[in-house]
């Protein structure tokens, strides 16, 4: 009796394990693409953005704005690529606080790198905007006000 129960449990365990692995293998093309952008974005963020904006996107006091203002990042989604590439000057209000320092430009970054960074930022630190791909970046970067 005991052995029967154990065997049943083993079968259930084996089935569920294989089911989970099948589901994982069946991750859609879109998910994989998103994961690729996000992972690359994190690497690029650590290199180019983290020094100032922090590992948790927390910014620095009243000097460097945090990246946690979901409303700002949603409303300015089209401008984020331009900000990463050309930097920022002048006053902005983030989480109700005014910031007025200069953000340096990153002209060396390619469209796909910028797309990865924007994907990472807009899906980290409490943000959840989904994929921002190289086509989005290409379009937005043509319309920069610089």
């Amino acid at each position: 009796m005991n052995i029967k129960i154990r065997n049943k449990l083993l079968v259930i365990l084996a089935c569920s394990t294989s089911l989970i692995s099948i589901f994982q293998a069946c991750q859609s093309q879109g998910d994989i693409n998103y994961a690729r952008y996000y992972t690359n974005g994190k690497k690029l963020y650590d290199t180019h953005c983290q020094n100032c904006h922090g590992a948790e996107g927390q910014g620095l006091a009243a000097l460097i704005p945090p990246l946690t203002d979901t409303v700002y990042l949603t409303q300015h989604r089209d401008e984020l690529a331009c900000i990463v590439k050309h930097g920022l000057n002048g006053e902005i209000i983030i989480n109700g606080q005014t910031f007025n320092e200069q953000m340096p430009a990153n002209h060396q970054l390619t469209d796909i790198d910028i797309a990865a960074i924007v994907t990472y930022i807009t899906n980290s630190f409490g943000n959840k905007q989904g994929l921002y791909d190289v086509t989005n970046a290409g379009t937005d970067l043509k319309n920069c006000r610089h």
């Binding site: 020094n51 100032c52 922090g54 620095l60 006091a61 009243a62 000097l63 460097i64 200069q102 340096p104």
Partner: protein, 215 residues
Amino acid sequence: MKFTSLSVIMILILASCSSDNKKRLPILGNREPVEKTVDGKLVTDTLYQTIPSFRFLNQDSVAFTDKDLDGKIYVTDFFFTSCPSICPVMHRNMMKVFQEYKGNDQVRIVSHTIDFKYDTPSKLKAYAKKLGAESDQWQFLWGNKNDVYNIAEKNYLVAVNEDKNAPGGYIHQGWFILVDKEKRLRGAYDGTKPDQVDQMIADMKTLLDEYKDQE
């Protein structure tokens, strides 16, 4: 028998504890032996590298000298306000040191700008305010290029320089240098690494305890 071995172990543990309590930080930098005569006998003493006298302007445009650090232990770093690379990390970490020792009159933080052209005292004042570091305990110092670069490289042993190709126009190391009340170097920590800064916060306590013992 068992009891004996157990008590031996206990004694060993206790012994190791008490030696931990007397932990002292090393003295860094150059040193040279000096011979002098004490009571008619020739003795050899060690002369440690110390921070010489200096005079800079602080964020209130008031002269700040080595005398203002008499009887204090302090941490020094080199930065500039428009620095796009390691400075924000350094001061994010230094903020932790500041919070930890806020109100302790034996502790100071001294940040030197290496951007002698742009970082005038009023710029430093605005920076300190925005950083949330408006306090006598944290001094932001401005000086001419020679004075600042000299004290950085010769006395604090931190490399700084102008470099047109570097982001922001300057290159520098992110060391936090811990100096004791005798103005000797007692520690150097990578100010960009949170774990090293935590170590420094702990070492500052060890250093302060040295003076407690002397009282």
